[in-house]
């Protein structure tokens, strides 16, 4: 399964090189360091809110996971800088990834 097919099923995976163990972000079939094949780590990963703002639909946050994997994610409740969060919903809609955190 590719990162995107996992994401379409609502699973956020962390791509990691099978050769040099580097975390590869954004997701890619090949490692950006050694061009080795990338595998997907599954789990209920914790991230940290490093910045946020809001629009008429709620808050949007920059969240950092292990080894500087960063995403922009929606959050319903008031975020705090440094808050530890998990992805509650994710997927692909209109060819764009989307993430929601709690």
């Amino acid at each position: 399964m590719s990162f995107e097919s996992e994401l379409s099923n609502g699973n956020f995976c962390i791509p990691k090189c099978t050769n040099c163990t580097k975390i590869v972000w954004p997701p890619s079939e090949f490692c950006d360091g050694c061009y080795g094949i990338v595998s997907l780590l599954k789990g209920n990963f914790e991230g940290e809110i490093i910045e946020f703002s809001q629009d008429s639909h709620g808050y949007f946050c920059m969240v950092e996971f292990v080894e500087k994997i960063r995403i922009m994610a929606r959050k319903k409740e008031q975020p705090q800088i440094g808050q530890i969060v998990k992805i509650s919903t994710c997927g692909i809609k209109d060819e764009s990834y989307f993430f929601e955190i709690i």
């Binding site: 954004p26 920059m62 922009m72």
Partner: protein
């Protein structure tokens, strides 16, 4: 390396007009050629078109429309800094001896596809530039204890400057209260904090030293170039309150020109959103971290046009592919003392800062008479 000079410019008003990109492109090119009848049109041996428009083969099209047959003709797209990337490419053709006379024309429509970087999925559903700008603004305000009314000075200043630029999109001045009470785009961004995508075109002619001296009385020389690409994706920016690519670009451009920042008399800064101007001023080295707004406010209060004399992107409008060229034209006019009522006195050395996609890449140019 051959020396490279700017020998002619052409620019037309920025508007919200719905016109074909080919017509927009021709406007400023025609202006350049009309204003400089001594230019040997048939000796233009390279034509570079700067745009994010999806139309194809625009450089050969432009060449045919102005009746020339150049050796080199192609387009350059690099989002918002396509313009200065085109100038750097034209510079390189001349410096290397591949060309002697390079026409660079930038054009964009108000509905440019260059506003959204579809590839950057790490932004999730937040791909419009207002989202990175909101994150930058929130981070900058947090780090330096800045209030919305402090930030509003950038929009107030740049709309004020734009009133002295006949080609600017903005036709109105605004107060601090107008800015902070303008429509909230996000919690950290007001409508008047944003530059507007618009229809516009700007053209410049580069020449080798020999030809520049033959066809121009007062060429402006490109003496410093610095460029840096950190990433394509916004979330790869380590700092959200400074611009790493701009720091590296300006350091290298100043080093190449053998100039110190104190020697820069006038500068065009890429103020896509209000927060970008203080961030860039600090990253270029005009002032220390956190002092960019104080620096801009002092200029505004003393009516000093040193930074963004034409009104920046906020006042002039932002036709993406034309912006870097329009910025460069402003510095050329300033250095040639042709900037009319927005002239910065005794300007001898100028700087252009043009960036793309949340400062993931930057170009800085140093120009001198």
């Amino acid at each position: 390396m051959n020396k490279v000079g700017i020998v002619a410019t052409g620019i037309t008003p920025f508007t919200m007009d719905d016109k074909k990109i080919e017509s927009v492109l021709l406007e400023s090119t025609k202006e350049l050629l009309k204003n400089n009848p001594s230019i040997p049109k048939n000796e233009i041996d390279s034509v570079i078109v700067s745009t994010n428009n999806n139309s194809k083969y625009l450089s050969p099209i432009l060449s045919e429309m102005i009746g020339i047959k150049p050796k080199i003709a192609h387009s350059i797209e690099n989002l918002c800094n396509s313009g200065t990337n085109s100038i750097v490419s034209g510079y390189s053709y001349i410096a290397s001896g591949l060309a002697d006379l390079v026409l660079i024309s930038g054009a964009e429509r108000y509905d440019s596809p260059g506003q959204i970087l579809d590839w950057d999925n790490s932004r999730g559903a937040f791909k419009h530039p207002i989202f990175w700008a909101s994150i930058f603004t929130s981070a900058y305000k947090r780090e330096f204890s800045i209030k919305d009314e402090d930030l509003a000075i950038i929009s107030v200043k740049n709309h004020k400057h734009a009133q002295k630029n006949p080609n600017a999109l903005s036709k109105k001045t605004y107060s601090i209260n107008d800015v902070i009470n303008s429509k909230a785009i996000t919690g950290d961004l007001k409508l008047l904090d944003c530059s507007r995508s618009c229809t516009g075109s700007a053209s410049i002619l580069l020449a080798s030293e020999k030809i520049a001296k033959e066809i121009s009385d007062n060429p402006v020389w490109i003496t410093g170039i610095g460029q840096k690409t950190i990433s394509a994706g916004f979330t790869k920016n380590d700092s959200l309150s400074s611009m790493e690519s701009t720091k590296i670009s300006s350091k290298n451009a100043l080093k190449m020109a053998q100039k110190e920042i104190e020697q820069i008399d006038v500068a065009e800064i890429h103020d896509a959103f209000s927060v970008c101007e203080p961030m860039a001023l600090e990253s270029i080295g005009f002032t220390n971290s956190g002092n960019g707004l104080k620096f801009a406010k002092e200029l505004h209060e003393s009516d000093n046009f040193k930074i963004n004399p034409r009104g920046g992107l906020i006042g002039s409008g932002h036709p993406l592919g034309a912006t870097g060229i329009a910025q460069t034209i402003e510095i050329v006019q300033q250095l040639q003392s042709k900037a009319h009522n927005r002239q910065v006195e005794n300007a001898k050395t100028g700087l252009v800062h043009n960036m793309s996609a949340a400062a993931t890449s930057s170009t800085v140019l140093v120009l001198e008479t």
